[in-house]
């Protein structure tokens, strides 16, 4: 269970969400501690992405509240939630396909600079990215380098290999200096050999950025290696919330989530 309340960065209370007859979230209660790495597991349709979509403002819960850093964000728009410090990546990378890798990064930074009221029409010189106090180009290069994407900087996002698209999608979330990062299946569509390498790189970059991480993952090896805590979903409910060594052997989790994997593997 979470520690003192000032250690909590996110609190979701009594979240319910239905789409017609389908209930995607049933009485979800989750508290996330600052600086923690939390794995969200569950079969397809269990409610993981619905939870992420509610936290990031893409979906509004039918009932319940989401409090971030003491502020109710339940009804805020995605861009306002991003501005507060909650950023996300996507299961299917959401890139600007007609632009190059470098331009993709620059767009993200441009949004951050614009929100900070910098780089206006009459500003002189290249705008400086708030928080990092370096020019736009320098920060873009820095983030690309931390994800080993520098060699791809001039290539169109449309023609990138799957793993690189995934990395760029995640790298773009870091431009806003997030306090909470929600990664939706960061290793999906990535070969087995690349998975751990990508996760190591992502976790290092995220650690350097000082963000709390929630990541949805189907690969239990990745979950056990990179999470400090596991929240298991089934049928829209949270069925287990514990450290990985406990959660991954929990009878209910075994039955609903990882049973098949263990039996096979």
């Amino acid at each position: 269970m979470a520690g003192a309340s000032n250690q909590l960065i996110l609190e979701a209370t009594g979240l319910n969400k239905s789409f017609g007859a389908v209930t995607a979230a049933r009485d979800i209660n989750i508290s996330i501690e600052r600086d923690s790495f939390v794995g969200l597991i569950g079969t397809n349709g269990a409610g993981k992405t619905t939870f992420i979509n509610m936290v990031t403002g893409y979906l509004k819960p039918d009932t319940g509240t989401i409090v971030y850093d003491g502020r109710d964000i339940t009804q805020l728009q995605p861009r306002d939630i991003t501005h507060l410090g909650i950023c996300r990546s996507f299961q299917i990378p959401q890139l600007y396909n007609s632009l190059t890798v470098f331009e993709n990064m620059m767009i993200g930074l441009a949004v951050v600079v614009h929100r900070a009221g910098r780089g206006g029409f009459f500003s002189r010189g290249e705008p400086v990215v708030p928080g990092r106090e370096k020019p736009l180009h320098a920060v873009a290069e820095e983030i690309l380098a931390s994800f080993e994407l520098t060699s791809y900087r001039g290539r169109s996002a449309q023609v990138l290999p799957g793993g690189v698209r995934k990395l760029l999608d995640i790298a773009m979330t870091l431009v806003a200096a997030p306090k909470i990062l929600l990664l939706d299946e960061p290793t999906s569509g990535v070969s087995a050999e690349e998975k751990f390498g990508i996760m190591e790189m992502v976790m290092k970059a995220v650690r350097d950025a000082g963000a709390t991480v929630l990541f949805v993952e189907h690969d239990m090896e990745v979950v056990s290696r990179f999470s400090q805590r596991v929240i298991a979903f089934a049928d829209g409910r949270v069925i287990c919330d514990a450290p990985p060594e406990v959660a991954l052997v929990d009878p209910e989790v075994l039955r609903y989530v990882v049973g098949g994997h263990r039996a096979q593997g």
Binding site: T56, Q77, P78, R79, T82, H83, C87, R88, Q94, L95, Y96, N97, S98, L99, E103, M106, I107, G108, A110, V111, V112, V113, H114, R115, R118, G119, G120, F121, S123, P127, M172, V175, A176
Partner: protein, 313 residues
């Protein structure tokens, strides 16, 4: 990093027009002035098209600007060309600021048709308005510049010089805007609006700003054309006029702020030559030109120059 040559190209073009225009025959000065004015409207469409939106109703602001420019002459006795253009720009900017709250919510064909609908509403109002001359429109007072009315032979050159200076300044301004953080968001909105929102940007706000910029430029251009022709009528807001702007924009491409002016001049040449050679089928020539551009230069005429500049840069 490649050097940004656009300001240099714009200023060099201005110098060529100011010097070369002096030697052009009167009819060519007039045609070039009209081409530059239409290029100014298309310049305003360029950032909008970079967001993936096409307005089929920019003639609304073109016509409104012309009427506003004409009205300040008749009502307040203001004949200064720059003040008339300022009035046109303000009228276009204010109306677009209002309509933008609605239009910035729509995308694709809905945006295009809604903008078209507004321009046709203005057309309907002007046609029914007796005090504004109904379908005949009205004549504009002869323009002055800083209180001086140019002598007969200098009228067209003065008009061309003003058009060239204003278009250059507008080109530099839009180029500067496209390099600002808000301007950089335009192609991102076209590619993936959801991602823009998730990165903290407001696509609706960016589109609204771009829409107002475009309408302001169209209003200024309308006032310029009104003063150049000396007469305005509701046809300036008709949908075919909006179509002509889109035609030029596709012909030119959105690769550079120089492209709209290049496209507009080429459009003017094709139009004039085709009309001269075949008065009854000139549309066929224009249509064929557009078809060839779409087939062989899908990103417009500017892509030819863009490739060469990139190769050198």
């Amino acid at each position: 990093m490649t050097r940004d040559r656009t300001p240099l190209i714009l200023l060099a073009t201005l110098a060529v027009i100011l010097v070369g225009g002096f030697f052009l025959p009167q009819w060519a000065k007039f045609l070039l002035t009209i081409a530059l004015a239409k290029g100014l409207v298309v310049l305003g469409l360029l950032p909008l098209m970079r967001t993936g939106l096409v307005s089929f109703g920019h003639a609304l602001y073109y016509c409104l600007g012309a009427y506003a420019g004409g009205a300040v002459g008749i009502v307040f006795g203001i004949s200064d060309l720059l003040l008339m253009m300022l009035a046109g720009g303000i009228a276009g900017g204010l109306l677009s600021l209002l309509l933008g709250f609605l239009l910035a919510r729509y995308r694709g064909i809905f945006f295009g048709l809604l903008s078209l609908a507004f321009s046709m509403i203005l057309y309907g109002l002007l046609v029914k308005s007796e005090s504004l001359g109904s379908t005949d429109g009205f004549n504009i007072v002869p323009f002055t510049l800083f209180g001086v009315r140019p002598d007969g032979e200098w009228v067209r050159y003065t008009m061309l010089a003003v058009a060239a200076v204003v278009c250059t300044l507008a080109g530099l301004g839009v180029h500067r805007y496209l390099g600002t953080p808000l301007g950089l968001m335009a192609p991102a909105i076209r590619d993936n609006e959801i991602r823009v929102e998730y990165m903290g940007g407001s696509a609706r706000y960016a589109i609204h700003v771009i829409y107002v910029i475009g309408a302001t430029l169209a209003g200024m251009a309308g006032a310029l054309v009104g003063a150049a022709v000396g007469h305005i009528d509701p046809e300036m807001s008709y949908w075919t006029q909006s179509g002509e702007f889109v035609f030029i924009a596709i012909l030119a491409g959105t690769g550079s702020v120089v492209a709209p002016f290049l496209g507009s001049i080429i459009f003017g040449v094709i139009h004039s030559v085709a009309f001269d050679l075949s008065p009854n089928t000139w549309q066929l020539v224009l249509g064929t030109s557009l078809l060839l551009i779409i087939l062989f230069l899908p990103t417009g005429l500017w892509s030819l120059f863009g490739r060469r500049l990139r190769a050198r840069g």
